[in-house]
Assembly symmetry: C2
Homo-oligomer: 151 residues x 2
């Protein structure tokens, strides 16, 4: 049953709630990184590289909205930190691609594990039924947002 007379107060509520959840998740993520030797930009670059499969420095910079020299500096620091390596493309030897090394994958896995542990603590305070209805609501929201994006 579509809702044509959508209450603008509800829309404003959902907007603020989603923004607040994003801010808390981001803030907690940064606190978790404090225990590692990588910075938030390095972490974002790792996530971007892992999601994309493989990228050149130029492509990574574009996706992170960084100036060319800033992207190169970031990759230099990540390479010294043992998180990524520069690798020649197998089909076009002139192209340099970035490869995430084991240490990089490990850090991402650890941060996700810590996030889950944190969410366990949060969610253990409510009933299974409420967790279920939260999952249903969020899944539906993601589904609607993804459809909206394609159309």
């Amino acid at each position: 049953m579509p809702n044509k007379e959508l209450d603008q107060k509800q829309v404003a509520d959902v907007e603020v709630l989603l923004r607040t959840v994003s801010v808390i998740v981001k803030k907690r993520g940064r606190e978790m990184l404090a225990d590692t030797d990588i910075t938030p930009p390095q972490f974002n670059a790792l996530l971007t590289l892992i999601n994309a499969g493989t990228l050149t420095i130029g492509e990574l910079g574009e996706r992170m909205f960084l100036a060319c020299s800033t992207a190169t500096d970031l990759v230099d620091r990540m390479e010294r930190n043992g998180l990524v390596m520069r690798e020649r493309d197998t089909t076009d030897r002139r192209v340099i691609r970035l490869k995430v090394l084991d240490k990089g994958h490990q850090i991402i896995d650890e941060v996700i594990a810590t996030r889950r542990k944190y969410l366990s603590t949060v969610l253990s305070k409510i009933s299974t039924e409420e967790v279920e209805s939260m999952i249903t609501a969020l899944s539906h929201l993601v589904e609607l947002m993804t459809q909206e994006e394609v159309s």
Copy 2:
């Protein structure tokens, strides 16, 4: 009724869903910025400044995890763009604070208005009852996350 035997599958689901929502919201936000003349780092700096009230360049750089020279470059570009101005602190004239100008406030307001319009389209496809239960679930999640942060 607290839920001591929390299902780990549920926790993993919530983690992935929250991450997906954040990614979509962020991606949409960047698409919205494409129509303005400010970049995502400038937008993040504006939001940080507005939430904080007022900051020095050093404080802004700290909150955004930027090197000192990068923060100064960013503020220079924002000042040229008419988004912020440097202002001497009224109590300590040696301290320079950043003030968000009207154009900066307008851009943030517009982006939030566009987000609401987008959410209206998304939420108009489901019933008022489901929007209500989504708001209840998200509010409870925010409440639990905020408590967890303080304790």
